[in-house]
Assembly symmetry: C2
Amino acid sequence: MPLTRKGAATRDRIVAAAAALLRERGVDEVSLDDIRTATATSKSQLFHYFPEGRAQLLLAVAEHEAAAVLQDQEPQLSSLGPPESWTAWRDVVIARYEAQGTHCPLGALTRQLAPSNPEVRPIVVDLLTTWQARLSEGAGRAGAADPGRAAVIILTAVQGGVNMLLATGDSTALRVSLDAALAGLRLVGPPGGGAHVDLLTA
Amino acid sequence: MPLTRKGAATRDRIVAAAAALLRERGVDEVSLDDIRTATATSKSQLFHYFPEGRAQLLLAVAEHEAAAVLQDQEPQLSSLGPPESWTAWRDVVIARYEAQGTHCPLGALTRQLAPSNPEVRPIVVDLLTTWQARLSEGAGRAGAADPGRAAVIILTAVQGGVNMLLATGDSTALRVSLDAALAGLRLVGPPGGGAHVDLLTA
């Protein structure tokens, strides 16, 4: 049964509050009762929106967090094209992941849900697919010879750099790898201006 | 109290068998009793080697898996230098992670242990540090202008590509990003021979 407009707004409010609580405390430390208290929701109301219980609510939070990954990169991600747009997007990405530090809310959720919930993996795959498509569109507007390949190289640089940041707390690898990818793909100007020669070995 | 040589061998045998069992069934599905049965170990023997219980044994398995990540790349990883050595190492890395597929044993362990075991993170950081050092040594032998930077770019390409493989089951991103990094850094010859021009945009 589809939700009414008011119902959808209430559901969104519960999911957003649950997401904030999970970010603050970690997914293992939050019960349905905690979420009920934080959102001033009754048991029957929570059951109305999430009849299958905690896993269903956590899945909705995972969708919320996956959407946030892309939203946090806007409007820069959808405006990619000229060199300065890549620099602007790069700055947003680095700031987002430095602020997030060593805790990835979406990662924590998918890890907890994945073994028993086949609905989780498509959320992550959809996120990566959409992210890659946006980067590919931007690389196309930048005149890249193979925008799809460029998008894969940029997205893996971000993923690898974030992985290192999550493990070590240090964003150097993210900065180095993303800058090398953007410069190597000629999407940004060479450091200090001048010609694009041997950028990756410079 | 340090273990005798025989004791250390027994402990290693228990850890290796536990690692195999965890790889097969997943970390959530294996109890201490399962490990005891699989290794034909008595309760008192298991307690002797792992007096702090399941978490201590899982930590030892995480160390075992972290060591395996590097061992599986040898002797190629420590032989990096000339162009053909990078191609040989690349093939080993891609084969290892394609065989592993969408399940990362070390990742599963660190996720389960990390919230309550501060000893886990150093295992992963040490792995990344050693891996990066080996790549840096290889890039140095290859004559890279900045071997440390080259190592970061290659390692993030692997990490990012493996991340995408774990999420999607598809190794294309790993292949594309690793090949782009090695070619962009001029560590391997250009595809099809010839001069190194605009490799990343080709």
